[in-house]
């Protein structure tokens, strides 16, 4: 069923997007027998040109990547895709993060300020995307880039989701620790920016330990990209990202581009969500390992680890930090 849907999407985008048709024009869809054979496009094409399968009148939302390397991906989606993204995110969030409504404290400036200055980027998408699953949403960082202690100490807080981009969380963690988060149960959800953290010589373990010091009962890293919004991967307690729902992941050898397992490769992500643009099969610059066998956490879904970015790849960050 998943494969059939991907083939349908390949056909659909070939018929509705001239740029995509040029990329995959010669592929014989009838010969595709596995998801590994689905043609893929490199994620950079979304930075180079507008690649869309919908008419302008149907555009519901324009999404932009953080554009750390100077050029942003621009993705235009219709209402149907937006709904599918929300539904998928909701299912994944409930399964992997929490099924209870929480108060979101996000480690960033007020979301309306970010939108005003930078547009609807990956940070805003993260805050608003996960924010809809929460009772309330409050910014913890003020205009001077310091922690708002009154927000952290609010008597109204019960169960809190502390959300933010990884380096931002690290940057403000001491100040948060000093103030203390006044709540009964704390989950930390963070994503992006590992390159920056590595440059500060902070390991994942060190980061997690710091979050537990803040009182976190669960620390979850998420991995996703604006080019495939709705298909988000959450880390388990072993730091592996598990593949669930409407998505699949494949690691490919950098030289042969053949699928590989238990070895470092360049990551391809597949999702049946994108109907507005040909983003259903994307080859990224992310380097990772697709693991075989069961993860120690007990989750039976396939799992992978992200190691970094390809050396000569354009540095792409989703945190703007």
């Amino acid at each position: 069923m998943f494969l059939e849907r991907l083939i349908e999407l390949t056909k659909h985008h070939s018929e509705h997007c001239a740029s995509y048709k040029r990329l995959v024009g010669s592929v014989n869809l009838a010969s595709i027998k596995s998801i590994e054979q689905i043609p893929f496009v490199h994620v950079s094409i979304f930075k180079e040109t507008l690649v869309s399968s919908i008419d302008d009148k149907d555009v519901f939302k324009t999404l932009r990547s953080s554009g750390t390397a100077g050029t942003q991906s621009v993705i235009k989606i219709d209402k149907h895709d937006a709904l599918k993204q929300s539904a998928s995110l909701s299912r994944l969030y409930k399964a992997c993060v929490t099924d209870s409504k929480r108060d979101m404290l996000y480690i960033d400036k007020d979301v309306s300020d970010i939108v005003k200055r930078e547009g609807y980027n990956a940070r805003v998408a993260g805050i608003t995307g996960f924010g809809v699953f929460c009772n309330s949403r409050a910014s913890v960082i003020d205009e001077r880039d310091t922690v708002k202690s009154d927000v952290l100490k609010s008597e109204a807080l019960r169960n809190v989701l502390l959300f933010g981009f990884t380096p931002k969380l690290w940057q403000h963690s001491d100040a948060i620790l000093e103030c203390g988060v006044k709540c009964d149960d704390l989950i930390v959800l963070h994503g992006g920016g590992w390159k920056k953290l590595e440059s500060l010589r902070v390991s994942r373990q060190e980061f997690d330990d710091k979050m537990f010091k803040l009182g976190a009962t669960k620390v979850i890293n998420y991995f996703g990209m604006v080019e495939q919004l709705g298909s988000v991967y959450f880390s388990c307690k072993n730091g592996h990202f598990h593949v669930r729902g409407d998505a699949r992941a494949i690691a490919r050898d950098i030289t042969s581009l053949k699928p590989i397992e238990n070895q470092l490769g360049v990551m391809q992500f597949l999702s049946v969500i994108p109907g507005s643009y040909p983003g259903h099969s994307i080859l990224t610059d992310d380097l990772g390992i697709m693991h075989t066998g069961l993860c120690g956490c007990g989750d039976e879904n396939k799992h992978f680890t992200i190691i970094g970015r390809y050396k000569n790849a354009i540095i792409r960050g989703c945190g703007n930090t």
Partner: protein, 373 residues
């Protein structure tokens, strides 16, 4: 030691152009380079062999009413893409009698270090007016103050950045900025030997050198089959990334309305047919040359159009045309009149250095002339 500290020992005294003692030092350096096992070092040594230097001396000193003298202190910014390039620039300037400050790239390969070791070993007393430094761009202002001539080898971005540091009013820049090269073939008379030489031109320096052809322009679609033996998939390449090549070609395909064919996802050779829309072709060509991943990839442009139409896609950044026609060069020379490359070379010769580079005679540039009336 910082770059500026190194300059404290620098003495800006010049020598006589083609001074015998300087020629002696250069010959010793060349002899040692010729003993190297590294081909690029041997090529450098061969270029500066004693007989060649004597030829230069004769060639540039033959007029009785004209005498050459050094321009003064020459500041060289070495490129990072070809490790031995700094030595060509420096040694010619040294022979011309100038004092030299060579700003080396920290990103260059081992060949830069090996060459520098040999140069330093033989410099002797000339070490005081020939200094080699690893400086950052923060040092550009200080370096600029000392120069009578600043020689800039590098990308457009680097050069623009360096030129923000002003020279003295009497000083000037000699600029070697971003260039690309192409190979051109008209007839089917291309033998296998030429094809292999062309491949060696294409893959030299991992395609980082501006003289390596990044495109082969075929003026006859039947030539494509003839050049099959020139496919680069020989497994002889050290660095490889199908991933980067795919990114490059897919971005071009998504951006421009052009047809690109490739054998498979791991192709190194992409065949592009230039379409009739010259503006679209020109933009696409520029994009492909500017974003080339320098990973052993080449575009084969096939065109049945006339010379003038095809030359419109090439711009002022064109440096070298590798002429693949072994029987007659007249067609390529005619083509060159439309696009004005700085050089036309035979397959296998694209990496050869010449004292006339990017249209500039380096010995003329490194000297001033005294006219005796």
């Amino acid at each position: 030691m910082s770059a500026i500290d190194s300059l404290e020992t620098f003495i800006n005294t010049t020598n006589v152009t083609f001074d015998d003692a300087v020629i002696g030092v250069c010959s010793k350096i060349a002899n040692e380079l010729l003993k190297s096992t590294v081909p690029e070092l041997v090529a450098l040594g061969y270029f500066f062999r004693y007989r060649r230097i004597e030829q230069f001396k004769k060639q540039y000193s033959c007029q009785s009413n004209l005498r050459r003298f050094p321009v003064g202190t020459v500041l060289h910014y070495a490129p990072s893409n070809v490790g031995t390039m700094f030595a060509y620039s420096w040694m010619l300037s040294f022979l011309c009698g100038n004092a030299n400050i060579v700003r080396l790239s920290k990103n260059a390969d081992d060949k830069q270090r090996l060459t520098l070791d040999i140069i330093k070993k033989h410099l002797g007393e000339f070490g005081s007016n020939n200094v080699f430094v690893y400086a950052t761009h923060d040092d550009n202002d200080a370096l600029a103050k000392s120069a009578d001539l600043r020689v800039l080898w590098g990308s457009d971005e680097s050069i623009t950045n360096i030129r923000k540091s002003c020279l003295r009013p009497s000083a000037r820049d000699l600029v070697f900025s971003h260039r690309y090269s192409v190979a051109v073939a008209h007839s089917t008379c291309i033998d296998e030997k030429s094809c292999h030489k062309l491949v060696s031109d294409i893959i030299a320096f991992d395609q980082n050198a501006c003289t390596c052809p990044r495109a082969v322009i075929l003026f006859d679609s039947s030539l494509d089959d003839r050049l099959k033996s020139c496919e680069l998939a020989k497994g002889e390449l050290l660095q490889d990334s199908s991933h980067l090549r795919l990114r490059w070609i897919q971005c071009a395909q998504a951006k421009f309305d052009v047809s690109v064919t490739m054998n498979d996802l791991c192709s190194r050779v992409f065949v592009v047919t230039l379409n009739d829309d010259c503006e679209e072709s020109r933009k696409m060509f520029k994009y492909l040359m500017d974003t080339h991943p320098t990973h052993n990839s080449v575009i084969k442009f096939i065109s049945d159009n006339d010379h003038a139409s095809v030359s419109n896609v090439l711009d002022r950044h064109l440096q070298t045309i590798v002429d693949c026609d072994i029987v007659s060069s007249s067609a390529t020379r005619e083509f060159a009149t439309h696009c004005n490359p700085f050089r036309i070379v035979r397959p296998g010769d694209s990496m050869k250095f010449d004292i006339i580079w990017d249209g500039k005679d380096l010995i003329e540039e490194f000297t001033n002339r005294m006219r005796i009336m």
